[in-house]
């Protein structure tokens, strides 16, 4: 063992024995952060939670069910635009969020019906085409969508709330709670029979069907879950930034979302937050070489896939459990 490995192992064994304390300290840190961080940094951390949510739309279908879905960006956009159109039409923001989730999940379900007839790379290409068609369609109907200039988003909560608490603090706590709840939900779901059914259709569809797992139904379910998750993230993202436009939801966003899933670990639910942190915070840290941002991302993606197949989450889990 090299010196580095010894140090890491020693640190990990210390961390193992103080797990509860560490978790407590982490929770406390997350709670007081809004009073410590500058507001721009707080906005970034809030965005990490948004991408943490989004990463589940890669983890569930790609990591667990083995369905190559590349239209997360479009689902994210459908959630965001639904929220904006509904609140602009007079629905209170807090009611628009669940509607947006249902609309996006419904769209994903409808897309999933024909799309899941195909599998493997075919499914990837169909969903990629859907993502591009969605972005082009946003540009083609400017009267409804605001076209390429985009559209302003109403607030999520009544103005009275923001008079009392600054909006960035509100959104920080909101997304922290949303992420923690969604994470706990997925940890439970993926550890249950449904998670095993997903893994078994990824491993071998024929065998899975022979033991009574309805592969088509579970593949559709993974689609719908991805849609619902992106819908939630989108409907929270629109009021968070106050402004949305087609380029936010193009293929490169789908890729950022999948990247967050892969870097965090596609089979490790808690990995999503680490992957999201890398995807959101790394570009900021790399601002001094911003021209090379994509090169760094590309190399990072390749290195993680080759040398860290279970991502950061898997690496940490192996050392802390």
């Amino acid at each position: 063992m090299s010196a580095i490995e010894v140090t890491v192992e020693r640190a990990a064994s210390v961390a193992r024995s103080y797990r509860r304390t560490l978790l407590g300290a982490l929770a406390l840190m997350l709670l007081v952060w809004p009073f410590v961080l500058q507001s721009s940094m707080l906005g970034n951390v809030t965005l990490v939670f948004v991408f943490g949510l989004l990463a589940f739309s890669a983890i569930v279908p790609i990591g667990f069910a083995g369905q190559l879905i590349l239209s997360q960006g479009a689902f994210f956009g459908i959630g965001a635009y639904t929220f904006v159109k509904l609140t602009a039409a007079g629905l209170p923001g807090i009611a628009a969020v669940p509607v947006a989730v249902v609309v996006t999940a419904g769209t994903a379900y409808v897309l999933g019906w024909p799309a899941t007839r195909a599998s493997g790379i075919y499914l990837g290409i169909i969903t990629l085409a859907f993502n591009e068609l969605f972005v082009i369609a946003l540009n083609l109907f400017p009267a409804f969508t605001g076209g390429s200039t985009g559209i302003r988003s109403p607030q999520l909560l009544p103005d009275a709330v923001y008079d009392v608490v600054p909006s960035e603090v509100v959104y920080y706590y909101l997304l922290l709670v949303a992420f923690v709840l969604v994470y706990l939900g997925f940890r439970r779901l993926l550890g249950s029979r449904i998670g095993w059914a997903f893994l078994s259709i990824k491993e071998n569809k024929t065998v899975a069907e022979s033991i009574g797992i309805d592969a088509h139904r579970y593949r559709l379910l993974s689609f719908t879950i991805a849609g619902a998750t992106c819908g939630l993230a989108g409907s929270l993202y629109a009021p968070l930034t106050g402004y949305i436009s087609p380029t936010v939801f193009n293929l490169s966003t789908s890729i950022d979302i999948i990247l967050a899933g892969i870097i965090g670990g596609l089979l490790v639910p808690i990995g999503s937050i680490f992957g999201a942190a890398v995807v959101v915070l790394l570009p900021d840290l790399l601002r001094f070489i911003s021209d090379f941002r994509l090169t760094v991302f590309g190399v990072l993606l390749i290195v993680v896939l080759i040398y860290l197949p279970e991502g950061i989450g898997g690496w940490l889990r192996d050392r802390l459990d």
Partner: protein, 292 residues
């Protein structure tokens, strides 16, 4: 008569465009068919080859040696990419997903580096060959020669996979990897050759594309999108299906660009792709199960 002229213009230019992108599509189909790698970086070979020619011409090298160097480079890059990344993934679970995202990473690196090194749009000044009159429009001879070169390359590939030892070995690996290895076929070598040939074919398409149109840093991504559409519509593993789909997509592309407006090109292409795949998930000429 104008309608017929327009129709002829669309068909002729569509076929020429189709022949060029067929070279990229056949490279993609070869790599996917033989190795099971959905190579998202396929179009990058074209962009790299095109920009290499641009760069060498700028440095004072004349056209012919510049083309030779660029093609050599795209072939070598194919092998290097395979050795450095894909070769480390053989035998892993979920090889399809892993190799797709790894090649996606390669594509990010490639077009980012090209943008920094070369910037924007560049055209390769091809040889002056004059033009001929066809119906009511002028057709440059260079376009015909480019299409002819593409056809010759496609024919050569067909003969290569049908009659040479290496070509037959590639097809054997594509049919049954373990069986082929049992017969003494070296999988690593076939894998390198496949990437080299795939890179070379696509490199040719990039240089021809640069002469007839322009090269730009994200050309690779556009060509990959076209190539995936063609391979998927034509059916994986079907050589004739891919050629037919290339010509069809070429005509759809030219029709949309001429009649509807060039900003709708990708909308039309993706619409065709989306419709074909949802109606016939295995493509027109293919079967869903190709063993990958």
């Amino acid at each position: 008569m104008a309608a017929i002229d327009t129709a002829a213009f669309i068909v002729v230019n569509g076929l020429i465009f189709g022949a060029l992108i067929a070279l990229t599509a056949v490279g993609l189909s070869l790599i996917f068919g033989v190795l099971g790698v959905p190579n998202f970086a396929q179009g990058e070979f074209a962009a790299v080859a095109g920009f290499t020619v641009v760069g060498l011409l700028g440095a004072g090298v004349s056209l012919a040696p510049a083309i030779v160097v660029a093609l050599g480079l795209s072939c070598v890059l194919g092998v290097v990419a395979e050795r450095l990344t894909i070769a480390k993934l053989y035998g892993r679970d979920n090889f399809l997903l892993l190799s797709f995202f790894v090649t996606f990473g390669l594509s990010l690196v490639s077009h980012n580096v090209l943008r920094i090194a070369f910037g924007g749009f560049e055209q390769i000044p091809g040889p002056q060959l004059g033009s001929i009159a066809l119906f009511d429009f002028e057709l440059s001879v260079l376009r015909l020669v480019a299409a002819l070169i593409a056809v010759v390359m496609l024919g050569a590939l067909h003969l290569f996979t049908k009659y040479t030892y290496v070509g037959l070995a590639m097809r054997a690996v594509s049919d049954d990897r373990q069986g082929a290895e049992m017969l003494g076929i070296d999988y690593d070598r076939i894998s390198m050759v496949t990437f080299g040939v795939g890179g070379l074919l696509t490199g040719v398409s990039g240089i021809l594309y640069g002469m007839l149109f322009t090269v730009y840093p994200t050309l690779g991504v556009s060509l990959t999108a076209f190539a995936f559409t063609i391979v998927v519509v034509g059916g994986v593993g079907s050589f004739t299906g891919v050629i037919a789909a290339s010509l069809g997509i070429g005509i759809v592309e030219t029709f949309t660009a001429t009649v509807v407006g060039s900003e709708y090109r990708f909308f039309a292409i993706f619409l065709v792709l989306f419709l074909v795949l949802t109606l016939k998930p295995g493509g027109i000429g293919g079967d869903v199960d190709v063993g990958h």
